[in-house]
């Protein structure tokens, strides 16, 4: 089926392309009255970034996105009949689905910060800014605007900052990030070798054919749902001191420590994939987008002697060894927060980590599958007792197997390198939908 053209003038920029921002700020909002929420939205809708602006060389230095929880749509007075047409997982919200997602123990919503597990979480404003000064200018401006919108309050906020060097994306453990991202059919973007063909827009935006050439029923009314996407948000604290201690315990030399770090991730910290560089790091390979994704597992590394089957990248993108993988693709946005822990410094117990969104058309089929199966299923791919070493819920009872000749290495009782500090499901509406929400008639009587 030939796909219709993407309505880029009606899609928020958020999932289409990544702006050149070094900082960001997330503000989590609650609406005390529907009218107040709609008034706030009316004033901000013209500032929301539209997909057509991406790559247009406009001299923007900040990019705004707005999304709502299901409770938020209700708080804006979307009627019950319409609310019922949204999928069950979105209606329930991430916190209610913690057991299935595997966010249990220390990762359980009862420990989440910033009011994210509360039904009073209604909306998020995501601000990407070119630099800290611009972010601060926008923060003050939004604070001033909120003071004019009685009944709209900030539950919590999170400031994001990229980690130096700014020549490439990197997270707190030191791994190069953003190496693998699906290309959306119809955007004109080119895939890199080994990344597979572009993915149908219906996998990310509502109202377009998906990889089944099907168009699932849209939540109603269509003006609210068309060109929208679902976002799963996760705030993941990274325990950098703990991670470095672990590497020292399992590697006597720097080289051995780097190899353990690479085996957990599936890539060296430079980004070079173990399948292509199994013995020694190759930073040039890691930085070369024409080469760094150009591999498979089935023919090049079937037993995981290079990249372990339980490593992070092999779980989160099993490539040719996964079934139906085109139906599991997601677009990741977000970045790092908190100050970097200098090399050699002891753990300072300051929170730092990744706060990211995954965008998709079906939370249950894409995000929840990834969390339930790829991340937290101890039996993934015939492993016996393992979870994703970075994103999985670890409590010291799971292992990590590193295939090796002649005898494999099994690390027993992997510690938790991360803790989930918050999460939520949002709906990222199209531009027309934002205007529809802003002008809803009030049926609540407020």
């Amino acid at each position: 089926m030939e796909s219709p053209a993407l309505e880029l003038d009606d899609i928020q920029h958020f999932l289409i392309s990544r702006p050149p921002a070094r900082t960001a700020r997330y503000e989590f909002l609650t609406f005390r009255q529907p009218m107040a929420g709609r008034k706030w939205l009316s004033g901000i809708v013209d500032k929301v970034g539209i997909a057509t602006q991406v790559g247009s060389n406009e001299p923007d230095s900040r990019w705004v996105s707005v999304a709502f929880t299901w409770n938020g749509l209700r708080a804006l007075a979307v009627n019950e009949q319409s609310l019922d047409t949204f999928p069950e997982e979105f209606r329930q919200g991430m916190a209610a689905r913690a057991e299935m997602l595997g966010t249990t123990g220390a990762n359980h919503p009862q420990h989440w910060r910033g009011g994210l597990a509360s039904p009073n979480l209604h909306a998020i404003v995501v601000l990407f800014a070119r630099n800290v000064a611009e972010r601060e200018r926008c923060r003050v401006e939004h604070e001033k605007y909120l003071s004019e919108c009685a009944g709209v309050e900030v539950l919590s906020s999170l400031d994001m900052e990229a980690i130096p060097p700014f020549t490439y994306a990197k997270e707190h453990f030191g791994y190069r990030d953003r190496l693998s991202q699906p290309v959306i059919e119809g955007t004109g973007d080119q895939t890199t070798p080994g990344s597979g063909p572009p993915i149908k827009a219906g996998e990310f935006f509502l109202g377009y054919p998906d990889e089944f050439d099907a168009q699932p029923a849209l939540p109603q009314p269509e003006v609210l749902s068309r060109n929208g996407s679902y976002l799963a948000y996760l705030r993941l604290e990274e325990h950098v001191g703990e991670f470095r201690d672990f590497l020292r315990q399992h590697g006597e030399t720097r080289e051995e420590q780097e190899l353990i770090a690479a085996k957990l991730m599936g890539r060296w910290r430079s980004g070079a994939p173990l399948t292509l560089a199994p013995q020694k790091d190759d930073p040039q390979l890691g930085a070369d987008m024409q080469r760094t994704n150009n591999f498979d597992y089935g023919t090049m590394d079937p037993h995981g002697y290079g990249c372990p089957v339980g490593s992070h990248i092999r779980r989160m993108n099993p490539r040719d060894t996964g079934e139906n993988v085109k139906r599991r693709k997601m677009i990741r946005r977000g970045g790092t927060y908190g100050p970097p822990l200098p090399e050699g410094a002891p753990e300072d117990f300051v929170e730092r980590g990744i706060a990211a969104f995954v965008g998709c058309a079906s939370l249950v089929r894409q995000f929840e599958f990834a969390m339930n199966v790829w991340v937290n299923d101890p039996k993934f791919k015939d492993l016996d007792n393992e979870r994703d070493p970075f994103v999985g819920t670890q409590d010291g009872t799971f292992d990590m197997t590193i295939p090796k000749r002649p005898i494999r290495k099994t690390i027993k009782g992997l510690p938790a390198f991360t803790t989930v500090r918050g999460g939520a499901y949002f709906f990222l509406p199209g531009i027309r939908a934002l205007r529809y929400l802003a002008t809803l008639e009030d049926r609540s009587g407020c």
Binding site: R97, E99, M100, F212, Q215, R327, N372, D377, D382
Partner: protein, 206 residues
């Protein structure tokens, strides 16, 4: 032989559900049997689309029973041949289902013709239901289900409805037994591959 009177059940209190200890040992050398509560699970554990059914000594399984639409018996029997040919042409075509065995049965015990889809597999079906639907699309296996009453018309896009059909038509076992309990198909294949390799090596050493 001395007899003792049966203890009297309290009349006023409703009968509580039986609590059955979920077996924890996965020792394949010891045959194991387990009785399963009526609900089909020991404790309520949520999957993406509904309760997760437990792994037993006979692994995971389905016994889906549904009434056949009038006049569709031959169509169902014909699809037995379809699957035979599909597997002959591509032996690993059903691999995504992580199956040990499939048994398809047609029967009528006086309430109309029914179809039973019995499968033994290695993972709870909730985890891979979308992959199964994709497989149905590719192989035509699904046409068996379209001959059954209650199968959702929009199954291609409505995964929750397909999951609901399976859950509503699943008849949970109340006893499952494994002579070599909890062993996955992957482990069986691995053991047989190893045996074949050893056998080959011994032959060559003679």
């Amino acid at each position: 032989m001395a007899t003792r009177p049966l203890p009297k059940e309290p009349k006023s209190e409703p009968k509580k559900p039986q609590i059955v200890e979920k077996p924890r040992t996965n020792d394949w050398t010891k045959p194991a049997a387990v009785a399963i509560p009526k609900e089909g699970y020991f404790t309520l554990e949520k999957g993406r689309y509904g309760p997760v059914f437990p792994r037993t000594p006979a692994n995971y399984g389905f016994s889906v029973v549904a009434k056949v639409k009038p006049g569709r018996e031959q169509a169902i029997r014909d699809y037995g041949k379809t699957i035979e040919e599909a597997v002959k042409g591509a032996p690993h075509v059903l691999a995504p289902l992580q199956l040990h065995y499939l048994r398809w049965i047609l029967f009528d015990v006086g309430s109309g013709l029914h179809f039973m889809y019995q499968g033994i597999f290695d993972t709870d079906f909730d985890k891979y239901i979308e992959d199964a639907i994709e497989l149905f699309n590719k192989t035509g296996i699904t046409t068996v289900f379209t001959n059954l009453e209650g199968w959702p018309e929009n199954w291609r896009t409505n995964v929750p409805a397909v999951s609901k059909f399976f859950r509503e038509h699943q008849c949970p076992s109340f006893l499952e037994y494994g002579e070599y309990p909890y062993v996955s198909a992957h482990e069986v294949r691995k053991a047989l591959t190893l045996k074949a390799a050893f056998s080959n090596m011994l032959d060559q050493m003679q």
